[in-house]
């Protein structure tokens, strides 16, 4: 089932990608080509097959509840595009 331009817009919003119309159209084409290929697994008999949610056969990998020294604040903030008074600064939160 092909993906509509509206759906492309919706997915772009979900993924926080600000795409222009040309990109949207190009991506619509590429996505449809890929989705077209996805049909080949639709008819595979997967009754009773557990999905591989994890690639390793391990369970219960845990760490003991011991605190380590945290990183120094200035190294934490070193790559911040904007920071002030020890905080990461972002534009005002506007709820849409």
């Amino acid at each position: 089932m092909p993906i509509s331009l509206d759906e492309v817009r919706h997915v772009a919003r979900l993924a926080r990608l600000d795409l222009d119309e040309a990109e949207m159209l190009a991506l619509q084409g590429e996505l449809n080509a890929l989705i077209g290929h996805f049909t080949d697994i639709q008819n595979v008999n997967v009754t009773g097959v557990e999905p591989t949610s994890h690639a390793v056969n391990m369970n219960n990998v845990w760490a003991e509840d011991e605190a380590d020294d945290p990183f120094a604040r200035d190294s934490a903030l070193r790559n911040a595009p904007m920071s002030r008074a020890g905080l990461f600064v972002v534009p005002t939160i506007i709820e849409d």
Binding site: E23, L34, I93
Partner: protein
């Protein structure tokens, strides 16, 4: 010339103090300075940093603590975090990013006394099969500068093939170590999923990614694998196993080894020159006593589809952290949402956006069951079929790439065609199997890679048999037409 030597030979000469670590490092930096303007394998070269590593290695040698790789130069794919050294993932969104910590494998390289000569080019965020998706530069194949070195670890493969370093690290999600190794005529190895810690590898497809070595010989690759693998408590998916052991590397034989040739990989989609090259190599292995049979595993035909659902789905989530808040590029926008949307639109290249979109779509409400869940089920089927095959065979064999190195720009207009090139390598990632590519011949002067896959945790045996295969194919060794 130190740059011609294998890592093993170099390490021996360095330990014997016939050569100095700085001297060797400088020789490689000089070669990079000469060749890389053309080849474009490196994104970052920092000679001061290299010499710091070199001095640390020399100190080890002087203290009598030399290991098998002490003082050996190594190139590192630029999606592995190196503290204090720029790590870009070949993306504008991380163009100036300097990590504040070392990846576990990087830490282990320091402990082994390796000497980092630079960070290598890749397809942006490891998404691609040609290194043409890098935001910064194109990397050229040392065998033919008009051709691609493969991807996504094209820079690392080209660096080793062109003798700019004897060793390199890459990452492999659907073939990104093995395919460039094949196109560049060198050895590329992907360990069993979980044997090499992913801590510090910028994640692409978390259930598929593995870090692995590039080298010009199997022995070198095995030694590097030993240095970087082994349990790591910082990675929950790290297998509870020690490092890959190399002491039995040279004590194997092809006599009686059961090799299963994957029928589905030698069909119409495979370049006849590649098929011919592989079949000639198999004849040589038969002559050494290997038991070579064809085996058909039809479900591997689903590999490309399942891969292009699962990997982008995981990637769409892994790349959500690039939002302009804590690090990386920030582009202003209206409010916090506008800022994030503008940042990601400007920071990500087209292929990355496409994969994020398909991945988001495959996970979204209404499509999760039909796409992601189903793909994971088909993946389970593939794994089951391959595991069954390993009851009858020691190794499963195929070409690594259905075509030799293609021209730069040849396939970029057909993104789907590029993706289809992964069908020989993808099954190993689907099941977490260890797999290796080594050169087995030439097609009009271009390398042909032979792909060997073993059962889960069968890394040692795989390397041991690969060593024998390498010895059985002496004509497959060659060096690109470079100074």
């Amino acid at each position: 010339m130190p740059t011609r030597l294998s890592a093993t030979r170099l390490a021996a000469r360095l330990a014997a103090k016939e050569l100095g670590v700085r001297e060797v490092a400088q020789a490689h930096l000089d070669r990079i300075a000469t060749l890389d303007a053309t080849l474009g394998a490196f994104l970052t070269v920092d000679p001061d940093e290299t010499m710091r590593w070199a001095d640390a290695a020399q100190a080890k040698i002087d203290a009598g603590e030399a290991g098998p790789l002490t003082g050996v130069p190594i190139a590192i794919k630029d999606n592995l975090c190196t503290a204090g050294v720029r790590t870009t993932c070949a993306s504008r969104i991380l163009e100036s990013h300097v990590p504040i910590y070392d990846a576990t494998v990087v830490r282990r390289l320091r402990e082994a006394g390796c000497v980092m000569v630079g960070k290598t080019n890749l397809d942006e965020f490891a998404m691609g099969t040609s290194t043409e998706n890098s935001a910064f530069q194109v990397t050229r194949n040392p065998w033919d500068f008009d051709r691609s070195p493969g991807g996504s670890s094209g820079g690392s493969a080209a660096a080793v093939a062109a003798e700019m370093a004897p060793l390199a690290l890459g990452s492999d999600t659907g073939g990104s170590i093995r395919q460039p190794a094949s196109l560049c005529g060198i050895v590329g190895f992907k360990p069993t999923y979980g044997r090499c810690s992913r801590y510090g590898l910028v994640a692409f497809g978390s259930s598929l990614d593995q870090i692995g070595p590039f080298a010009r010989t199997v022995e070198d690759a095995a030694l590097l694998a030993e240095a970087i693998t082994g349990h790591d408590r910082r990675d929950s998916t790290s297998a509870n196993h020690p490092a890959i052991a190399t002491q039995a590397l040279k004590s194997g034989t092809l006599r009686g080894a059961r090799l299963g040739v994957l029928k589905e990989t030698l069909g119409e989609s495979t370049d006849p020159r590649v098929t011919q090259g592989v079949e000639r190599a198999l004849d040589a292995l038969r002559a050494e006593g290997a038991d070579v049979h064809e085996v058909s595993i039809p479900s591997i035909g689903y590999g490309v589809t399942t891969y292009y659902i699962i990997a982008p789905a995981e990637a769409s989530s892994n790349l959500a952290r690039f939002d302009g808040v804590r690090y990386g590029l920030r582009v202003e926008g209206k409010g916090h949402i506008g800022m994030m949307e503008a940042t990601r639109a400007a920071g990500f290249g087209h292929e990355v956006k496409a994969r994020i979109m398909i991945g988001t779509y495959a996970l979204s409400a209404g499509y999760y069951d039909a796409f992601y869940l189903r793909a994971q089920q088909v993946r389970a089927l593939m794994r089951r079929d391959l595991e069954a095959a390993f009851q009858d065979f020691d190794l499963l064999v195929s070409p690594t790439s259905p075509v030799p190195a293609f021209k730069i720009g040849e396939l970029t207009s057909d993104p789907l065609a590029l993706k289809m090139l992964d069908y020989c390598t993808i099954p190993a990632n689907m099941g977490g199997f260890p797999a290796l590519s080594l050169n087995c011949g030439f097609a009009d002067g271009l390398p042909i890679g032979l792909h060997l896959m073993g059962p889960v945790l069968g890394d040692e045996r795989l390397l041991q048999l690969a060593y024998c295969v390498e010895r059985a194919l002496p004509d497959a060794t060659g060096r690109p037409p470079l100074p």
